[in-house]
């Protein structure tokens, strides 16, 4: 399934008088009450729409857009493909410097069950060392040992990435299972959120 969200109201924060709307990847100024869409996404005031603070998803075949943090949006990437991984690494390295990651050292494996088209199991492994993005792997089978492992259905992760389901709700309704120290996980929750937000900016085909 291709990402279908093509427009969202964006709010430039309390200090900004600008309200805009992303339509087919283009940012246009519109009042917040316009018919453009209902979901509001707060981003930093007076800044170009950056990949790290937007949750919109680009549609297929969108040309390069200054509102995507400088990343060309000329193509979509198949979720969890090698190309998607490379794009993710590029964006994470650029968008999440060590200070944005609180200089954390940790690792996490997302385990995707029932992946299309054959129902196989895949994983996405991240590692940060002192806040520096150190490793990212996608693969099938047993994931590398990580401090945290989150397992769930492929479609659940896709819904989370598309902003249709919060990770917290997925955990609380048993759609996702977390393995690892919950107390540490709580400390890292905001960092995981930052990371997911960056990944969410990748034009993705699920």
């Amino acid at each position: 399934m291709k990402s279908r969200i093509v427009s969202k109201i964006v709010d430039f924060g309390e200090k900004s008088d600008f309200h805009g709307c992303v339509k087919n990847g283009k940012l246009s100024e519109e009042p917040a009450t316009s018919s453009c869409h209902s979901a509001a996404v707060k981003i930093a005031p007076r800044k170009t729409l950056g990949a790290n603070n937007s949750t919109f998803h680009a549609a297929n075949n969108i040309s390069s857009n200054p509102n995507t943090g400088g990343f060309p949006m000329t193509a979509t990437f198949q979720y969890l493909s090698q190309q998607w991984r490379d794009e993710a690494e590029k964006r994470l390295t650029t968008e999440l410097p060590p200070e944005r990651m609180n200089f954390v050292t940790s690792s996490m494996s997302n385990i995707y069950l029932n992946c299309p088209p054959d129902g196989s199991e895949k994983y996405l492994f991240f590692k940060f060392v002192e806040g520096k993005f150190a490793e990212m792997l996608v693969g099938t089978g047993t994931p590398p040992k990580a401090e945290f492992a989150i397992a769930g259905d492929y479609q659940t992760f896709a819904k989370i990435t598309r902003g249709e389901l919060s990770a917290q709700k997925a955990l609380m309704t048993l759609k996702l299972k977390l393995k690892g120290n919950m107390v540490k996980a709580l400390k890292l929750a905001s960092l995981a959120d930052r990371l997911n937000k960056v990944l969410a900016t990748i034009p993705t085909e699920y």
Partner: protein, 410 residues
């Protein structure tokens, strides 16, 4: 930042927890237990050195450090208080893979060869409500989550090892008792010279609490209402020995019972002192003297080698001789240990399961509460004595030093 107990032997309250865990693991090996799942509050206090007010568990593997599992809202605090670090204190929550059954079962399986083995659990009963036995529901859930494992009741393993107290534990009780004595002094200062007039039992409880907290008490730990205060007829309930403070106002001519509790590093202070508000009748004084005499005699009698039934026999004989046996509750002790351990003496080896074995033979460095209740409902009067005592070869050592007596308050 953690603020763990000083782990040097210079600390008078030092307890060698790693050694304690190794002793448990040696006994587990003797009994063919591959992993121990503790759920009692006493087991948590005794192994983790942290107060766990929420439902908690401790998993002790065949070797290595134990891991505590508690409600996530309190896990970081428990890790800070415990000698165990944050890697060995896990929080559970109603989230996928993080509920207590799945989280603990996964952890246990990861610690077993091929995920199979014998798991020691704690199943039993107690009059002490917050004991923490594994509930039937928890048992069935763990059994289902640990397929291929055998759950065996193993709490005696911990009970045996916890019976004789080390010096660090005794010192914690001594400090808690010193704090209790400060609470008693504060109460005395407040009620003397007519100060008691207009005061209620709850106010007395609060006066003691404030003084003890100022002196460092962590809380009035007893589940019987914190500090137990009784006045007038409430001191003399037939066979009674539990009086959460009420809003009753203190009155001249009545008895007052002040049973207060302090906690220091999970060591427990528990001492009861008694008063008579003037004017005091001869009958009241007679009851009071009986009570003081039997307390003295009991304290003189406790020593290693004696049993609860022998103590009761001797003391009830004395009460009979003196003509006040009708007013004595025929029990002279209750168990005590680090927080959560406040029920029977010794092991579960008596004629009535999970009650004190009347033939338990006291050994040196056992700790118990010397406890007795005198009650004459017809005269609306009663007295209580409680004091932690350490058993020595030829005597016992009362830890609270507040002078024994029934003081008259003008």
């Amino acid at each position: 930042m953690t603020h763990h107990t000083d782990t040097t032997t210079k600390d008078p309250y030092f307890i060698d927890f790693p050694k304690r865990i190794k002793n448990i693991q040696a006994e587990m090996a003797n009994q063919g237990i591959d992993c121990y799942l503790g759920s009692r509050l006493r087991t948590l206090s005794w192994t983790a050195d942290a107060f766990c007010p929420w439902r908690s568990f401790v998993v002790i593997p065949a070797d290595g450090l134990p891991t505590v599992f508690t409600f996530v809202i309190d896990a970081a605090r428990v890790a800070d208080d415990s000698w165990l670090g944050e890697d060995n204190v896990m929080g559970f929550a109603p989230m996928g893979g993080q509920d207590q059954i799945e989280q603990i079962a996964d952890f246990i399986k990861d610690n077993l060869k091929n995920g199979r083995g014998r798991i020691g659990v704690e199943s039993g009963m107690s009059n002490y409500l917050p004991e923490g036995w594994l509930s039937h529901y928890e048992y069935t859930q763990f059994q289902a989550a640990l397929s291929g494992c055998e759950l065996v009741n193993a709490h005696t393993l911990i009970d045996k090892l916890a019976l004789i107290k080390d010096q660090g534990t005794i010192n914690r009780f001594k400090e808690a008792s010193r704090i209790v004595d400060i609470g008693h002094h504060a109460v005395f200062e407040a009620i003397k010279d007519g100060g008691y007039k207009g005061m209620t039992e709850t106010e007395i409880a609060g006066i003691a609490t404030l003084a003890m907290r100022k002196a460092g008490s962590e809380w009035e730990w007893s589940f019987t209402g914190g500090n137990e205060i009784a006045s007038g007829y409430r001191t003399g309930f037939a066979g009674g020995a539990c009086t959460p403070a009420s809003r009753r106002e203190l009155q001249p001519g009545e008895p007052l019972m002040v049973d207060i509790h302090a906690m220091f590093k999970l060591g427990l202070g528990d001492h009861s002192h008694n008063y008579l508000m003037a004017p005091v009748t001869d009958r009241q004084r007679w009851h009071a003297d009986n009570f003081v005499d039997i307390v003295k005699k009991t304290l003189e009698t406790y020593r290693a080698g004696i049993t609860p039934s022998l103590i009761a026999e001797k003391m009830m004989g004395f009460a009979e001789e003196r003509g006040f046996a009708d007013y004595m509750v025929p029990g002279f002790e209750h168990g005590i240990g680090l927080m959560g351990d406040e029920w029977r003496i010794g092991l579960n080896d008596g004629p009535f399961p999970y009650w004190t074995n009347p033939d338990h033979v006291y050994q040196e460095n056992e700790l118990l509460i010397c406890a007795m209740q005198y009650a004459c409902p017809d005269d609306n009067i009663g007295f209580r004595y409680e004091n932690p005592i350490v058993i020595h070869a030829d005597h016992c050592e009362p830890l609270s030093k507040f002078p024994l007596g029934v003081d008259e308050i003008r």
